[in-house]
Symmetry: C2
Subunit: 264 residues, 2 copies
């Protein structure tokens, strides 16, 4: 095999952290789906999700996590806790994290008033119009109550459909780098058989992240090998190495259902 060209990428990498604020996730009541959605959507925007945290509806915990994450990552996305009830404490907590006041935002009030028509907004609904001083609103085309952006922190709803709609509203304002591209090769060889040769391939392609995921199918053990990187040419070449390795070990490179073909 020829020596691969050295990695080209000293490109700026943009990173993100997702903070899921929700007792309902930590109690097991609700299966989170916002992390997986944001992971994929951020990657398409050229931003790498580096960490996700699920934390409870506790003001001090929200403040500590928001402040820690906004210093560490280019972008922070929170989900949850921006509704009208007593357990919706995200906006107040983010204001406190930034040391600014939580103010009635006239633009947000108008958006909510438009939704509720002639009915005056009660105190609970006005709560959803209170936004940290200096924040800009994120449009919510589903239920009107807006999210907001405060510096590099984006505050989204917890309801998945609304979180997704808000992400679409803010997407154009994100500055990212290259998207990470993926190649997947599956085979019916167990991980333990391919591990040594796979490690040699990983060492040969240090800028490509190679993940190995075991599966147990009705036809026996199998392995899914996932290659991730930003350079399509190098990714293709590394994939060819993986494919050749599988053949050399007596296996057959194959496609399985991408999601999760495991029957365990």
């Amino acid at each position: 095999m020829e020596q691969p060209a050295s990695a080209t990428s000293d490109e700026r990498v943009f990173t993100a952290c997702v903070i899921v604020i929700g007792n309902e996730i930590l109690s097991g009541r609700t299966q989170d789906s916002n992390i997986a959605f944001l992971a994929g959507a951020l990657n398409e925007a050229g931003v790498r999700l580096r960490e996700a945290r699920v934390i409870p509806d506790i003001t001090a915990t929200i403040i500590a996590n928001v402040n820690d994450a906004r210093a560490q990552f280019d972008y922070v996305f929170t989900t949850g806790g921006i509704g009208p009830t007593h357990d919706d404490i995200t906006a107040a907590s983010v204001a406190e994290a930034f040391g600014v006041k939580l103010l009635l935002n006239e633009e947000a009030r108008a958006l909510l008033q438009a939704r509720y028509g002639d009915t005056p907004l009660n105190e609970a609904r006005l709560r959803m119009a209170h936004i940290p001083d200096g924040a800009t609103l994120i449009d919510n085309p589903i239920s009107a109550a807006p999210g907001f952006k405060m510096e590099n922190v984006f505050v989204l709803a917890g309801v998945p459909a609304i979180a997704r709609a808000m992400f679409r509203s803010l997407r154009q304002h994100l500055i990212g780098g290259s998207s990470v591209l993926t190649r997947t090769v599956n085979c019916r060889l167990p991980e333990g058989t391919i591990a040594a040769d796979l490690e040699a391939i990983q060492n040969r392609w240090p800028d490509i992240e190679i993940g190995s995921y075991p599966m147990w199918t009705n036809d026996g053990p199998a392995t899914s090998l996932v290659l991730r990187g930003t350079d399509a040419t190098r990714l293709d070449a590394a994939e060819a190495d993986v494919t050749a390795m599988i053949v050399a070990l007596g296996g057959e490179p194959m496609q399985l259902t991408p999601a999760n073909p495991s029957v365990v």
Copy 2:
């Protein structure tokens, strides 16, 4: 309404943190289900999941998170990264976090050898028998390669079926307190209508955590109210308050599909 008796619970509360180690979750390739499973299973064991983190396969990140979490919480559960390939770095990272050596464990080697029969274990499979010095093994009835417990840190596989089997293996060794009990009341009133009265009920029952979750159904907006606490009698009384509030506001307490009846 009569004044409720004051909360009785100065009982010891046992806490946990889950650390999901996996680039495949952060890339959006795989939807995590271990957090939701462990949340529910821990609660049944009388342990409260207080935080969950999804972190990448990076040694320094794993070490920092394990050391931070084991100091903060009664129990730490990691999932992922204990297979035979180059990206399986959890055992070595946990050993480093505890400042102990990663050693070939004879018990683990025997378990793996029993699975692979007369075939000698290659270097990759022997990797799965390397366990931090001083750890005790956690049985893996599915694919033999064991998890392990190091002080208050439980290291489980990432494959959900194996993580669950390992949890069943270790469950009897967990010391917990009271399980958290749940009551759910739904209604077709929007959150903004019930927020003020609900907050008054929350203030009346400080030891009961009341969560409010909006839903958008084919028949319009609805709200799911979830009460959580350890005292069944107080929980029943608080639920009666919530039910009475819904009726007083012109709504009807009802059951919807518990999981997620939202059509948004």
